[in-house]
Amino acid sequence: MLEKQKPVGAMIKQFIKCRNKTISETADAMGIKYNTFSAQLINDTLSVDVLFRLAVYLDIDLNWMHMALGYFGTVNPLEKENIPRMQKVFREEQRKFVLKRLDSLIDENPNSTSEVRRELLNEFNMFYLLDTLIPEEYSILRATERGVSKFYVNTYESDISGRNTLGMRSRVVQLVTGINALNIEIEERKDKR
């Protein structure tokens, strides 16, 4: 079962901006009239062919792109799915963009981390925010629960097979929920300003 989380067109517009391109330039590159392309972005009617070509034009890993656009498949009920992180260069660009927005939201809501987080999630999807903001060395995991994707950040993993008292699944994880991970990043950002 596929689930879609946020409007595709809005996310594609961000990707275009992060690559320092305009919609007009991108439409040209796709061989589509500007008005048509703009309407497709607004109405979420981009074709598969255009999405593939956009991935090449914007140099975005397709595997990552479908995650960032909110297209998820089913997950093994017992193991959380490890999600590929975006390319470092791309993250740096995306991060600047998201941090700028984060800073504005912090200015508007200086005393409420939860309000900042809610506004961020209204504009971006959870996976995209986590992938952009959280440290590169951590992994993002996804679980599907009652048809809804939930994201987690794994901050620490080690094989502790040296401990006889633990069983087969002695691979240790330290999971932080997506919500808490965003809270951490917001608080850290507040500290740095």
Binding site: P77, L78, E79, T113, R146, T155, S161, M168, Q174, T177
Partner: protein, 359 residues
């Protein structure tokens, strides 16, 4: 006197929350290395208990210093653990304490499964009802540093103080015990009853429903209350699931189990919820139930879902191992070795089998 003073990083809530919590002085908000973060969960109500951690020099707590404890003894109950932390302005103050706590000679690790997500290292354990965390304005009792006030009057260079000097027994401990008696009523940590279904379950108003929806994935006592009320007025598997997953995220595994069972009862096709429940049973040491459910899931699994089947075999092996049925546990390891296509898992299983055969 069965009392131990521990010095930890200064925080407000010590329950792992980020929103509204101070940044630990001993490290960042992310868990980056062992010993960096465990004490920030010292007052987390973890399935009805609190687990306490303090960074020490050395590998054991010398519990033989207490009366009636022999040198080979590994734990002692009936302890008072006094938690202290250095406030940037007021110095080292008592931030809370445990009563009726068990102290362990060696650092323990909590059982952890993929659904629970936190591995807790701890030296002390007590019921949540016996843990007392004070609000900041009540943290008024200073504990000295021996370097300033003299040997036996406070913490030395380490983070623990046995307070067994003549001076401490006469001048400090009685005052600490008075302080404890006066301040029990001021605690702010969450007790287990607060997670249980309330007696009154009025329908959610329009405003409350809208607020509930705006919370999204966020889970706290308020959203839990809303989830209980939503289920009471509109019972169904999704509403039951909201209660179950809220309790799980609030680390109330025993309370969550009956709600997950309710979801499956109402929607037997919900395979993902079964996946959560099979681990929860294991987490709560209900191994027979975990085994039954894992076997049920095996019967339903498509033989092409090799990863899922491997995982279920691992769960079954663990369930039997934790129940001390080693021979049965090894049977399941043998099935993994024979049937799995995952070379890394096969090798790992062979190594585990060697260890378990020594048990």
């Amino acid at each position: 006197m069965n009392i131990l003073f521990c010095n930890i990083t200064y925080l407000k809530f010590y329950d792992g929350r980020v929103d509204g919590e101070l940044k630990p002085s001993s490290g960042g908000r992310w868990v980056r290395e062992n010993g960096d973060a465990h004490e920030k969960w010292n007052f987390l109500n973890y399935d009805g208990d609190c687990y306490g951690y303090v960074q020490i020099n050395g590998e054991q707590l010398h519990i033989e210093r207490y009366d009636n404890v022999i040198s080979t003894q590994e734990e002692k109950s009936g302890m008072i653990i006094v938690w202290c932390a250095e406030h940037p302005v007021y110095g080292t103050v008592i931030v809370g304490w445990y009563e009726n706590a068990t102290i362990y000679r060696y650092c323990q690790s909590s059982i952890s499964t993929p659904v629970t997500g936190i591995v807790r290292d701890y030296w002390f354990k007590t019921k949540a009802e016996d843990a007392y965390l004070l609000p900041e304005e009540k943290r008024t009792f200073n504990i000295s540093r021996a370097s300033k006030t003299g040997t036996g009057t406070g913490f030395g260079r380490g983070n623990i103080w046995y307070a067994d000097s003549g001076y401490a027994k006469k001048n400090i401990i009685p005052n600490v015990l008075s302080f404890i008696n006066e301040n029990r009523k001021n605690r702010i940590n969450t007790l287990t009853d607060e997670f249980k279904q309330p007696d009154e379950l009025p329908m959610l108003s329009k405003e409350e429903l809208s607020q509930y929806e705006s919370f999204g994935e966020e889970v706290n006592l308020k959203t839990l209350n809303y989830a209980y009320r939503e289920y009471a007025n509109s019972p169904g598997p999704d509403a039951a699931y909201d209660v179950a997953s809220s309790l799980l995220e609030l680390c109330q595994f025993s309370l969550a189990i009956p709600w997950y069972e309710k979801v499956i009862e109402m929607d037997p096709s919900d395979f993902n919820t079964k996946g959560t429940l099979v681990y929860l049973y294991q987490q709560c040491k209900e191994y027979v139930k975990s085994i039954d459910l894992a076997e049920d899931m095996l019967n339903q699994a498509d033989c092409k879902e090799r990863d899922l089947i491997d995982e279920l075999y691992c769960i079954l092996a663990d369930d039997y191992y934790f129940s001390n049925d080693i021979s049965k546990a090894i049977e399941w390891l043998d099935r993994i070795i024979k049937e799995s296509k995952n070379e890394e898992l096969i090798q790992y299983t062979k190594d585990t089998k060697k260890k378990w055969m020594l048990c």
